[in-house]
């Protein structure tokens, strides 16, 4: 799967022009007091969506620049700093410290954290190391069961790292360094993924098109930004993205890039669908059927687009591919989040608090991933090849 990664496109692209903002920030920012260890019991509120909300609260370009500038001061920290061997090493802590980086996807943070586990490991045999890694990944997964990309990222990492000839090395240290190398490479690929997707998607955005987006997906944002940088002329319709108003945020960011943008309320999707040329959505997870799990509202947008014969494009990094197969909307681990309606909810009234829905593959046109542009049915192909 990773072997066939389309990241070579990125490499080629990099030679041509420098990218203004690099996404691989190689060092964790110092743990802050505010980000205290969360309770490993995230229910009833999904930690994943809390983090997303927190990030969206702060992800503005100014903030990013500041953060980047702050990080640039310690460019080589990662190599020198290994977790202090005396203190007990915690994956969760490591993961959380990585996670605070607003532009780092949760899965990548997990991958980084697991790589740190390998580094910190005092195991003396490969088996021990593997067991340790497995334990760490299980802890991570248990920490937030609602996050699909976290689970998928951990699983993929485990496959990628352990499925290697390194295990046949006689010398443990060389094997370990090999595994570590793979881990680093995996993290790197994951970091590049967004750029690759942005470049792959450029062929699909034509001048004068109108794009409907839903929610704040960092990949979609990257795509739109790249298109704008490529001097493409297009218009964006942003849904509002209740309840956390992520659409408003995206609209704000796009407006800064001088992209014409229009904000809709979520219920106006069907109304404005006939002026839309394509729909772009991100994904929290891509499941085995080729469908996606994404922010609430994606399914209905896909339905509307499908009925009006508009293409629905999904932008998702391949570490979001999960071995899940929901049959219907209810066949998922519920990810809840608080939902205030800005008005007091009358007593005896139930509130739907689910944060995400499942869009079946037949409503999706194409998936833009770092493995290339895929039809939904190929997702399962990739997953089978990886896991079997």
């Amino acid at each position: 799967m990773w072997r066939s990664s389309a990241s070579f496109i990125l490499d080629k692209h990099l030679n041509n022009k420098p990218i203004s903002i690099t996404h691989s920030i190689d060092s964790p920012p110092p743990p802050s007091a505010s980000m205290a260890d969360e309770n490993p019991n995230p229910n009833p509120i999904s930690a994943y969506y809390e983090t997303r909300a927190a990030h969206h609260g702060i992800v503005t370009s100014e903030w990013l620049e500041q953060a980047q500038a702050a990080v640039q001061r310690y460019p080589d920290r990662e190599n020198s700093v290994s977790p202090v061997s005396g203190s007990p090493f915690s994956v969760i802590e490591e993961f959380n410290s990585w996670r605070q980086q607003p532009d780092l996807a949760e899965a990548v943070a997990a991958i980084r954290a697991l790589a740190a586990v390998i580094r910190a490991s005092e195991a003396t045999t490969m088996m021990e190391l593997e067991i340790e890694l497995k334990k760490a990944s299980d802890t991570l997964k248990a920490w937030d069961t609602t996050s699909i990309s976290l689970t998928a990222g951990c699983d993929l990492f485990m496959r990628y790292v352990t499925r290697t000839s390194a295990l046949e090395f006689e010398d443990f240290n060389s094997a370990k360094s090999r595994v570590l190398g793979r881990a680093e490479k995996f993290g790197e690929i994951s970091c590049k993924a967004r750029r690759v997707i942005a470049i792959l998607s450029q062929d699909f955005i034509f001048d004068g098109c109108t794009i409907l987006v839903h929610g704040f997906s960092r990949v979609v944002f990257e795509i739109l930004k790249t298109s704008a940088q490529n001097k493409k002329l297009f218009r964006v319709l942003c849904t509002e993205g209740r309840p956390d108003k992520t659409g408003v945020l995206l609209a704000k960011e796009l407006a800064k890039l001088d992209i014409p943008v229009k904000l809709l309320i979520d219920s106006a999707v069907a109304y404005s669908m006939d002026e839309v040329d394509m729909v772009f959505v991100g994904a929290d997870g891509v499941v085995e059927s080729g469908g996606i799990i994404n922010m609430m509202g994606t399914y209905q947008i896909a339905l509307v687009a499908h009925s009006m014969n508009k293409p629905v494009y999904v932008a998702a990094e391949s570490y979001k591919f999960a071995r899940l197969y929901p049959l219907d909307q209810k066949d998922l681990e519920p990810a809840l989040r608080p939902n205030d309606f800005n008005v007091p909810v009358p007593p005896k009234v139930e509130v739907e608090r689910s944060a995400r829905d499942y869009t079946p593959p037949q409503y999706l046109t194409l998936l833009f991933t770092d493995l290339g542009v895929l039809t939904p049915s190929v997702v399962s192909d990739e997953l089978i090849q990886l896991y079997l």
């Binding site: 085995e288 059927s289 080729g290 071995r323 197969y325 049959l327 219907d328 066949d331 593959p361 049915s377 399962s380 192909d381 089978i384 090849q385 896991y387 079997l388």
Partner: protein, 647 residues
């Protein structure tokens, strides 16, 4: 070849026509066509009524060439064996009816037990009642040169068709040795050489102890087929045919290759008559062809059930190279005692294990080659008993592959042990183990409060339901069933015994009942690489209704049943069941509307066994490789077959 095809073109104008028009007018265009091909025959000779008048009309004709034809009367001689066995017909048919009752009364998973007992009982008298035939044929087998000579001489003799018929009938009814001896005397030089060749070949074959029909039987079949051809032809043609037959016979002596070549292909087109006849000549099981078949399905074999069993039982003595375990399994297929994809496959593999155990390489033979040939001959026997399922085809491919890949350095005992353990492993990993994994996956999809619908009696689904019940999940089961097999009742019985709350209905009520269903679990005979699910007939209907009601359809199928073939409909590959099963309602004597109409040319019965469900109606396929969408079947096939070769 051509000369052989000619008379068959004369065959059956009637049924072919009936498939399309309902007019009862006896064909004009088709006969004309045929007349062009075989002009010497008067139209009256080719008229279909012959077959109904002929003694084989009353369902005893053992020949399975498609329906009403001129030849059927001529093939009468073949009845020798069948007629001899006719005394045994009644006991065996009793055992059938026993079995039919049986599902209701049975409590265990294997309905075979009961009836097998009765079957054995009936079989002994048959065997004892017919010592003559067995002996005769043995004798015929010993003097294998005889049939060849009989063959040639018969063809040389020019007789008017009517006479020939009579003569040949008499010949066969009297035993074969006698019929061929007097004719032996007037052989020409070339014929004598042919005889010699055949003798030599027969000796070689006997030495090889190869798994094929003794030359005697095959030769006799061949000779009758020539006789069949004869009356329809002018004498010049006859000679050619006889020579050709003699030649094939000559070649057929050492016949491993021949046997393999002629073995009915799993997907043989039964409306390709030359092929059918070829296959027939080799056939061990003489199935009775149903007469009126639906036009679209004429390429499939359709048999009348219930007449072959005694015939086969008597044959047991002629088939010395057939391993008893294989023979037993074949008979069980034939009688329907073993049904269900997994059960059939396991039975076959276990029989092969026995074969391997009792195998010893003949001198100057290679184990790999000889065993493969042997397995092939057994397989063709099994195909004659009942068409192979795709899963069995895959299993056979596995076995043959294993045999071929045996290192040459292994000693015989080592090789045998390796093979046996390979087969054992296949059974355990690919079938039983796969079911466990499927159950594990599928149970995750069952939630409290579910209403699960299943159709028929798929074993995997049954295991899933029982396991989910053990896990204390609260769900209800809707068992949908259909005539004539009513397999659902067996499932129902077992589910209720475990205390699962069930509803039982027939497929007619499917659209009414579907609205309360939350998930549909189906089994499959095979999954093809375009995602089409090939399963018990009715499955497609259930899946379509479910998808119309937006109910997810989950198909449970072990990966060894996947096949890279693509199939778009259920016509080109299917199996036809006993037409009587749908014309009669068992236990309801008052429903007799079709009595006496079974041989009516205007009435055709279509008892399909399988149908193809398009992948659009399937939400998920649960295999031992996890839960996959129907679109990824090719991926599994690819990966699996890679592994398949490596295993």
């Amino acid at each position: 070849m051509e000369s052989r095809r000619n008379p068959r073109a004369v065959v059956d104008p009637k049924v072919r026509q009936v498939g399309f028009f309902t007019s009862s007018q006896p064909d004009s265009s088709s006969t004309q066509q045929q007349q062009q091909q075989t002009d010497p025959i008067p139209a009256s000779a080719s008229s279909p009524p012959v077959s109904t008048i002929s003694p084989s009309g009353n369902s005893l004709s053992p020949v399975m060439i498609p329906p009403p034809r001129l030849n059927s009367s001529d093939t009468f001689p073949l009845r020798g064996a069948a007629a001899g066995a006719s005394s045994a017909v009644s006991p065996s048919s009793f055992s059938y009816s026993n079995r039919r009752d049986f599902p209701d009364g049975s409590t265990t998973a294997s309905p075979g037990r009961h009836s097998r007992g009765s079957f054995v009982k009936s079989s002994t008298p048959v065997a004892s009642s017919l010592p003559g035939i067995g002996m005769d044929s043995m004798a015929a087998a010993k003097s294998s040169s005889v049939p060849a000579s009989g063959l040639t001489t018969v063809s040389v003799a020019t007789m008017p068709p009517g006479l020939a018929e009579k003569a040949s009938g008499m010949e066969v009814q009297s035993d074969q040795k006698k019929n061929s001896k007097p004719l032996k005397e007037k052989t020409t030089k070339a014929e004598r050489r042919a005889i010699q060749e055949a003798q030599r070949a027969a000796k070689a074959a006997a030495k090889a102890d190869g798994g094929k029909v003794p030359p005697g039987t095959s030769a006799s079949v061949a000779s009758t087929s020539v006789k069949v051809a004869k009356p329809a032809k002018p004498s010049t043609q006859k000679n050619e045919v006889s020579v050709a037959a003699g030649v094939t016979e000559k070649k057929g002596g050492p016949s491993e290759k021949d046997r393999k070549k002629d073995a009915p292909h799993p997907r043989m087109q039964y409306d390709d008559e030359s092929r059918v006849v070829k296959a027939k000549r080799r056939a061990v099981v003489k199935q009775t062809e149903a007469k009126n078949r639906v036009e679209l399905f004429r390429h499939l074999p359709q048999y009348e059930h219930g007449t072959q069993l005694p015939d086969l039982e008597t044959k047991f003595f002629q088939l010395d190279p057939m391993h008893p375990a294989v023979y037993k399994v074949g008979l069980q297929y034939l009688s329907g005692d073993i049904s269900g994809g997994n059960a059939r496959c396991i039975a076959m593999l276990q029989a092969f294990q026995e074969v391997v155990k009792d195998y010893s390489t003949p001198p100057e033979k290679n184990l790999n080659r000889d065993m493969t040939a042997k397995i092939s001959s057994y397989v063709s026997f099994l195909i004659e008993c009942r068409p192979l399922s795709i899963s069995m085809g895959n299993a056979i491919r596995f076995v043959k592959n294993r045999i071929a890949k045996l290192p040459i350095t292994l000693s015989e005992s080592e090789a045998k042990a390796a093979l046996q353990s390979d087969i054992e492993r296949f059974i355990n990993d690919k079938i039983i183990g796969a079911d466990m994994v499927i159950v594990k996956h599928a149970v995750t999809k069952i939630r409290d409060g579910d209403v699960l619908l299943t159709y028929g009696s798929p074993t995997a689904v049954e295991m899933i339901l029982l396991h989910a019940h053990e896990l204390k999940k609260k769900f209800r089961v809707l068992v949908v069933d259909s005539r004539p097999k009513l397999e659902g009742q067996l499932l129902l019985r077992r589910l209720i015994k475990r205390g699962i709350s069930c509803t039982y209905t027939h497929i007619n009520a499917i659209s009414y009942i579907m609205h309360e269903v939350t998930k549909v679990f189906l089994g499959a005979s095979s999954v093809l690489s375009n995602g089409t699910v090939y399963s018990r007939v009715g499955t497609a209907c259930v899946a379509m209704v479910a998808s119309a009601f937006r109910v997810p359809v989950l198909v449970c199928c072990e990966a060894y049943k996947f096949h890279e073939r693509v199939q778009l409909d259920s016509i080109c590959s299917n199996e036809l069941g006993d037409p009587n099963a749908i014309s009669k309602v068992h236990g309801r004597e008052d429903i007799n509307y079709l009595d006496g109409l079974t041989n009516n040319a205007n009435l055709q019965f279509l008892n399909l066994m399988y149908d193809a469900t398009p992948s659009d109606y399937i939400s998920m396929i649960i295999t031992d490789y996890g839960m996959v969408p129907p679109t990824s079947v090719p991926v599994i096939v690819r990966e699996y077959q890679k592994e398949h070769l490596l295993v």
